[in-house]
Symmetry: C2
Subunit: 464 residues, 2 copies
């Protein structure tokens, strides 16, 4: 059956890409209140397509509530008529995207999808609209090749809050997890380790995203008149930040490393065998004069298996062109930490908050807020679904799959593993230079099509 | 003659305030390119009024040039027919204002002047449109009381770039200083030490306003994928800032204090005698839990006679609501230093730049830019103009004038003193809680009227 479906997918490549472009034109930026209508429009677009290809029970599930007023809807669909002897696969993706700033660095506008050199450029191209669309198109090809039937039972859940912490889907999993019950979850929101190297991601860092607010004077003050007596919130923030992480990159929060688990020797050995050129990575991916980070750990360890701390922005004061001589009454730092097994967000945030409060500079008041968090995870590689996935990808790519971890966070994966006890396959087709969360995000179109084929082969293999 | 002029001014109080409101409605924010038309409109408004009251040779002097493309015009006027035996007074003020942000902290909108509790609230109310308007209204009252004549020769120069460094007027003074030649300059852009306490300001701090740019990766990067290897420009800026100033407030730039002159013993003694309540100042003016600054110096010394360093804003990265997990490619810090005699901006900037370059963290590139600067000054108190000013204010306020310094910078005062060799009187009528450069800037209207009377008495006294 899969050969007919592959043929269908190959004949429809152009249409699949055009449809994806339509979805990418919707600026479904979940963190910006002014885009709430666009986020909902993207959800509707996907629901309609799921219905069209033959999925059943398609519906939007509202996540907004009194305690979660800015919730965006989940898109749900299923097709459960493959028979009780066939496994059930839960397909997960997200349709929300990161903000597109800085806009002036995009070569083509972020919400006008543009093909160049075999890539499709747009915000969300690979993270995650394009990869989610691979699932939809694999399902469509299987329906088309099999008289409206699928080889396995399938549930689809697509969320609109992944980029803002995924609170809505987490609550849904906690409260209505049985509605997502499946034998395995398939998540395509990660990347391949290298072009042409099929990859399964078997671990993700968790995170806590915080805001640290510092308040000094009663109001903004003139730095001529009050420079020398008024506490400066930015100077205070600078003092706090330098006490959070030393100049070599070690986090200084007491106890922060206590629960950090070392990867197994086997894992470390496998990572060393991966085709990785640190100098190439520095030049083409990071692009800085030097790499930074904890001494004594390789790049892969530092980004996969070590916690980190970053500052994302420092709102407040005067940020226009030119000069304003203000000592601002308040300033903020947006600070996040990536966590690794066996750290927990709750413990890490408590350690961070207590430490920051203990080092608050004189003359200022500070407030530490948790914006969102996600658990770090490692998933099992010893099950038939992993074997089906690696077989499927070997058939498409012609080489063996590598197991890697990811430095980022997909909060829901932790929930699938912990709440629903499901093995989770992170089978992603992005590339390391796809500019996730950055200007000129892209998806290599060959990988979009190879992803569709890998996924439909996977469905056929797990049915066997 | 002054009694007739005083009577005129008293009868016209209401109109004077209404006219000032019209001027305050023009958002002449010199640092923001989008307000360039408003800045010019304010210049025209003042020129028209100077013409109407009887001043001569009224004209706008363009300051924009190839090397100074964002120049705003000077407003010039004179009336030089009092006779060669009468002194010439140069009245200086500025019609440009600071940006009004943060807008949501204004009780009434910044450009809708509103009277409350005897105060006029608006951006520019006291700094400096209201104080400049005192000059115009004192001149109008003298013309009206004296058949269209003034007791002294008067030149008026009003600039539109004071809040952005005053480059245009500085160039004009250098190149055409003879057109401003006078026996004394009168500047009303400072404040009274306390309500009801007439004050002459005899010293000002200088400044250098800089931008420090830090660049890390080639583009914005995802903190999940690159946290642990990519240099973070905000973390680098924090490290630099904490090395610029220690936690007690001492500036750490090598050589920075070498040229700092200690005030005379007499000055320090006079400052100690001023009615100053540090706890009241902390609570009502600064409003922080504690005052900060160099140990071993009083508040007045720290704000008048010691250099300081402040951070005004840190543009870059993500500053919206919510979360974006970006390691920005670049971030900026707007950093200024206040200078005191005998420091010079040139030397201070060179010291700062060399030091910052020497402490740049690994993995980032830095660029240090000078946005503008002004020299620190102290002015003479031993001349007949100072005596006329103190007599005038004693007649109005009933108490003796105190001599203070100011922590802020009025760059042109240094040019008047150095380039034109003019004694300069800084006779200001602001109050310490007038919220200069901050939300809810105000001018106490009683001081507006007492200022007009003091100025017209001063003109009459120097004529005698």
């Amino acid at each position: 059956m899969s050969s007919k479906a592959i043929e269908f997918a190959q004949h429809q490549q152009e249409r699949f890409v055009e449809e994806l472009k339509s979805l990418l034109r919707i600026p479904s930026i979940s963190t910006l209140p002014e885009h709430v209508g666009d986020v909902r429009r993207a959800a509707g677009f996907i629901a309609e397509e799921l219905r069209r290809i033959g999925m059943e029970n398609v519906r939007l599930i509202e996540t907004a509530s009194a305690s979660h007023p800015n919730g965006h809807p989940l898109v749900y669909a299923d097709w459960l008529r493959a028979g009780a002897d066939r496994p059930t696969v839960l397909c997960y993706g997200h349709y929300d995207v990161q903000p597109a700033e800085p806009l002036d660095e995009w070569i083509s506008p972020p919400f006008e999808p543009t093909e160049r050199n075999g890539n499709l450029y747009a915000r969300g191209a690979v993270d995650d609209k394009g990869q989610m669309w691979m699932h939809v198109k694999a399902l469509e090809s299987l329906f088309a090749a099999n008289e409206g039937r699928l080889p396995v039972n399938v549930r689809v859940i697509v969320e609109g809050e992944e980029e803002v912490g995924g609170e809505g889907i987490a609550a849904f999993v906690r409260e209505h997890g049985d509605q997502l019950r499946a034998d395995v979850a398939l998540v395509s929101d990660t990347e391949m380790f290298a072009p042409d190297l099929p990859t399964l991601c078997v671990g993700l860092r968790g995170m806590i995203y915080t805001e640290l607010e510092v308040r000094g004077g009663r109001t903004d003050l003139h730095s001529g008149m009050y420079g020398g007596t008024a506490p400066n919130p930015f100077v205070a923030l600078a003092q706090i930040v330098t006490k959070l992480k030393d100049e070599e990159g070690r986090i200084l929060i007491p106890g922060f490393y206590d629960c950090v688990a070392r990867p197994t020797e086997e894992e470390l050995k496998a990572w060393k065998a991966l085709p990785f050129d640190e100098e190439h990575y520095r030049k083409t991916e990071v692009g800085s004069s030097e790499l930074t980070g904890e001494p004594g750990y390789s790049v892969l360890e530092r980004t996969w298996a070590r916690p980190t701390l970053d500052v994302h922005g420092m709102p407040g004061g005067f940020i226009g062109a030119g000069a304003k001589t203000v000592i601002p009454a308040r300033a903020l730092a947006k600070i996040s930490m990536r966590l690794v097994p066996d750290q927990t967000p709750t413990e890490a945030f408590a350690q961070y908050k207590a430490y920051v409060e203990s080092i608050a500079p004189r003359g200022v008041e500070i407030e530490v807020r948790l914006i969102h968090s996600g658990d770090p995870i490692v998933v099992s590689t010893d099950n038939p679904y992993v074997r089906a996935a690696t077989t499927a990808m070997r058939e498409v790519f012609g080489v063996e799959t590598v197991f890697v971890r990811g430095g980022g966070s997909i909060p829901i994966v932790g929930d699938f593993v912990r709440e629903l006890g499901m093995p989770t396959l992170m089978m992603g087709f992005g590339l390391p230079d796809d500019n996730l969360h950055a200007p000129n995000e892209k998806f290599h179109l060959a990988n979009f099509h190879r992803g569709i084929e890998s996924i439909l082969r996977f469905f056929s293999l797990v049915a066997a």
